[in-house]
Symmetry: C2
Subunit: 245 residues, 2 copies
């Protein structure tokens, strides 16, 4: 992402702005995962196949006891997807589609003509905890890499399903108030719900920062405890007042 959290310009078209090292970092991450997942709009970008990234990474995968090619998971709650997308032209590993229960049978049949499996979870929106359980049980996915876009990231973070967050902070500012950011979806959050992470590591390569956050598992509960501790007569107290700025 850019230093202001953007992953594209306002037109939402993907334009690469990371370095070669950033791409390598992504492929290194893929080489640790059983499956790679992304949203339909992200995957409609020409040239996107979600493959392991070449022989070097295939060998790395095998040496780690992983399958030579990662599974590929497409997320499309509404079932909309360009069936001519490049990903369907490369059949090196199964393509699994996660949809919601709202997708009509006719569209499901179309999706089944390009994907190896299409599975619905939830009613109007995908039930991700159930979907991830199913991926683990049926497809043996223990480590899943979610590569975007912002809406999917946001949904996954909100659902508390992200254990690690790998961010590349590039030395650019895109600006724009409709340019998509690293995490979107849902505007109804209170600070108490804002997903807390811990800074795991930060590494500089050239002018980019490679940052890893891990989920702070107990933070939400401890925030609740803090509110409760501050409160009187069962009513939550005002949170500590911020100092004058």
């Amino acid at each position: 992402m850019t230093a202001d959290g953007k992953i594209a310009f306002a037109n939402r078209k993907f334009v690469p702005f990371g370095s070669g090292h950033d791409r390598e970092n992504m492929m290194e991450l893929r080489a640790t995962a059983d499956a790679v997942m992304a949203g339909a709009r992200t995957l409609e970008t020409p040239g996107t196949t979600m493959g392991p990234g070449g022989k070097k990474y295939q060998r790395l995968r095998l040496s780690r006891g992983l399958r030579e090619y990662n599974l590929r998971v497409i997320v499309t709650g509404s079932g909309s997807m360009d069936l001519r997308a490049d990903i369907f032209k490369h059949r090196f590993s199964p393509i699994i589609m996660l949809v919601s229960g709202s997708v009509p049978e006719k569209q499901l049949r179309l999706l089944r003509s390009v994907a190896d499996e299409v599975k619905a979870f939830g009613d109007q929106e995908i039930d991700f905890p159930a979907a991830l359980r199913w991926l683990r049980e049926k497809w043996k996915v223990k480590r899943l890499l979610c590569e975007g876009g912002g809406a999917l990231h946001g949904t996954m973070v909100r659902a508390g399903l992200i254990d690690e967050l790998h961010l590349t902070i590039c030395p650019k500012i895109f600006g724009g108030n409709t340019a998509p950011t690293f995490a979107e979806a849902g505007n109804d959050v209170r600070l108490a719900d804002a997903t807390p992470f811990k800074l795991n590591s930060s590494k500089r390569v050239g002018d980019e920062l490679f940052v890893v956050f891990t989920r702070a598992k107990s933070s939400r509960r401890s925030w609740k405890r803090k509110r409760k501790r501050c409160g009187r007569n069962g009513k939550p107290a005002d949170l500590p007042k911020r100092p004058e700025i």
Copy 2:
């Protein structure tokens, strides 16, 4: 900002989420600047006075040859501003307002009743290069700290007026597609225009990262040169194709 570039939730109300160290870092920065500047909406947050942050910082300022209290600059292109805002209740240093030429005389009179000087630059939008030149000439502002909000940051970055970018990356994800980000304003940018910076330093304190970028002064020109070099017959060539992902 959060790890996804947000500076507030979708309701745009400021809620503090940085650490005590983050606040100290901001005050340290103020203690290097002749003036501190922010947009009207940002300054309407209760408790915001844009002061130096206490005796410790006042002494630091004096030891550096700066005035004991920083000047305060309010930006409001349209001239809208809550005249009862806390900043006007603390008169330790001059308050200067930058507006555009579109503000009617009646509103200017109101603003002059609370500010020490109100000055218009540009027609419909503030002409920032001219405003900054004036601040330097009239008010001896050599180092100006711009503290937000996102729209002002975006405008300043676009205008190429930011020499240093100080970001605190907090271990939180807010998500939301209308939540304000560190840099907003303008959605019409091409990659060639995206302001390039160089990573100057990155320091971890607790779970926060304090990152400083500096403007890469020649990058825009070198990008143009690159396009030109790639082109044939005076027509810019396609930019290098990105590798398959």
